[in-house]
Assembly symmetry: C2
Homo-oligomer: 440 residues x 2
Amino acid sequence: MTQKHIVIIGGGFGGLYAAQKLQGIDARITLIDKRNFHLFQPLLYQVATGVLSPADIASPLRGVLANQKNTTVLMGEVKDIDPDSKKIYVSGGEEIDYDYAIVATGVSHHYFGNDHWSQWAPGLKTVEDAINIRRRILDAFETAEKETDPEKRKALLTFVVIGGGPTGVELAGAIGELANHTLHDEFSNINTTEAEILLLEGFERILPPYAPDLSASATDALTKLGVTVKTGAIVTNIHDHVVTFRCGDRTEEVTAQTILWAAGVKASALGEILAKRADAPLDRVGRVMVSPDLSVPNHPSLFVIGDLAHYAHQDEGKPLPGVAPVAMQQGEFIAKLLKAQIRNLPLPQFRYVDRGSLAVIGRNAAVVDLRFMKLTGMPAWLIWTFLHIFYLVEFDNQLVVMVQWAFNYFTRKRGARIITTKYSQQVTIPEVSIPEVSTT
Amino acid sequence: MTQKHIVIIGGGFGGLYAAQKLQGIDARITLIDKRNFHLFQPLLYQVATGVLSPADIASPLRGVLANQKNTTVLMGEVKDIDPDSKKIYVSGGEEIDYDYAIVATGVSHHYFGNDHWSQWAPGLKTVEDAINIRRRILDAFETAEKETDPEKRKALLTFVVIGGGPTGVELAGAIGELANHTLHDEFSNINTTEAEILLLEGFERILPPYAPDLSASATDALTKLGVTVKTGAIVTNIHDHVVTFRCGDRTEEVTAQTILWAAGVKASALGEILAKRADAPLDRVGRVMVSPDLSVPNHPSLFVIGDLAHYAHQDEGKPLPGVAPVAMQQGEFIAKLLKAQIRNLPLPQFRYVDRGSLAVIGRNAAVVDLRFMKLTGMPAWLIWTFLHIFYLVEFDNQLVVMVQWAFNYFTRKRGARIITTKYSQQVTIPEVSIPEVSTT
């Protein structure tokens, strides 16, 4: 009997965990990703705010999987999946046959039908996003230093973060640290502590999935860092560095050089493709509504995991949140399921274990909701720090991050505070022109 | 009496050392640079080959100079200098009056009249150059892995480095390490050790300024890393991934996906401006031929230091080489000179102290020429490593680099081996659109 071929599309937390946990299975595994690295996305906001470098939180997939001899890594973008012939089509022209396919391509930004807002309010999903946001933030201070018109200077020193989930809270807090501590003594013409940092959240409190007292504690911590939190604020327009939002029956306008989007996500393109090719049911934001075993309904060998999957919580009925622990548990589950299937053993059931959630605001400030216990301040911050270092360990990057954090903690300096020129918009595979080989 | 104003243009080794050594002088100092960071250029090839991240070797100028209260940092590009009215014109429209001006803007690539070669054979001067070269090198391996045509695959796995000076030697050695060690076990369809790495040098031996036995030792070390060294090889054309070069009376052609340029430099644009505005004499590559006190002839308050200056060695008559120690010593000298001038003390004389030169080839392989002693292999490598860490110390980056190097040394892995999309070509100040402020 020939070996089965398991193809994993996407090397994020879901896909990479599945690949790692499949180690030792009697099958061939191919991991396809359009990038050559796994990105530790929870720390991406630290790249965007000059604490870490991209490579500190990125691990080359080939390096991570080098010791798994049955696993091949392919850099490419999947363009189509045909579940009838069990074929995957990759951008470079490759056609790959599979016995089992695991789709784990995640989500991208969602501007709720206003995609033109993206030029004024970029989101934070890729390394390039982070570098471009870092450039925008640092450039705003540099330009303000040279600006003589007080109104323009005020606009340059105004930062609006839209969306009060963990990413928005972390970004706003980090900009607050930058303005009030890191950059404080470095400029001659401006006082960076006068920077206005606005965090807008449409719901009545920030960090909606957390307990209300943790939301309040996060708001306090943000306020101490100079962030103004506005809740119940619905953004109605973004244009030419002006954000318009409704707060109850008042409409407000803020002019800000730097506007960042952390408000919504939508499913990646493979969701649509699965709907078309495999009749996969999609939810409102395009995520695939998977069966209890994470397969696409009526396609028992085609699975969707991680942020791209809509999976109802076994007890609460709500879909599981789009966070790393869900993706990791789903990746681990799929590995167990396929091992059992290939060995003809009884199949396991997926059950999400919620170990809590946590978000960081700044130095010594975080909120941790362990369900049985809630923590804020320094203890929460220590838990956050420890857990992030711990999970980075698996990807070889922990030492450098520890050094950078220690440096940052004691000096409030930031090592990666450099302005580089713009990354091109291109987010698929970088172009490679195959040379025409002349026979010399 | 009002304070004198000293303006330094360029925050490289020359400009930044001048600024730092001017600490405590009774004068105002302004440092202008088009970037917001000092770049530790000798390690840039390690960014291009995935060992370090840009921020590891870049120090924000405002951070470095934060404690010098009489020093202002201005991010901007100098467009013109008028030595008669003693004014400097900056890209943003600023006009700056100076009493003393120090020009230290260095050099850029020189393709000897063939600027169109640059698209096929990029050079390595900026952070963006390094990231783009890293992408090209890593992409070549990824594309080769998917290529089925053996000739195209061969071209993808061929790397040509043009120029056998320190940068070319370091780049070729680092690509050799990558192909033969770091990437060795990570691909399924290609054997990375079959990569062909060619180092082309026009002179009869590589590292021409070093003693002949050190050149020979460097050639041996490169050969062990799988690099083919061709000397006496004059490149006559670069086009469509094909390099044509003459070796004696033979003409050879090599098809290579990746071609890197490390062969020539030319003066930055301010050289031309000084020629026009201050009648500054220029040498063949556009460097300013300075007076013995590093001033522009007939302009005693206008100085040129570092790579942009052509300064004849006091004993040998040859111009001083374009290396960091020369720039640092000249920056230090100018600081002493201006301190003496402002205090009406006797003026010092500039005298270059040549402490030797060193280049690294790979792990445990380097050449060091201390004039009184020559070293190769592990001892040379240890000296190289120690000196680079030591000089980085002054710029806050040493710890992270030590961790990365230790990691690399013991595992041969490279932490910064990530492919990011293309940086835009723009190398002046990143665009910032000043918002039109509406009065709301």
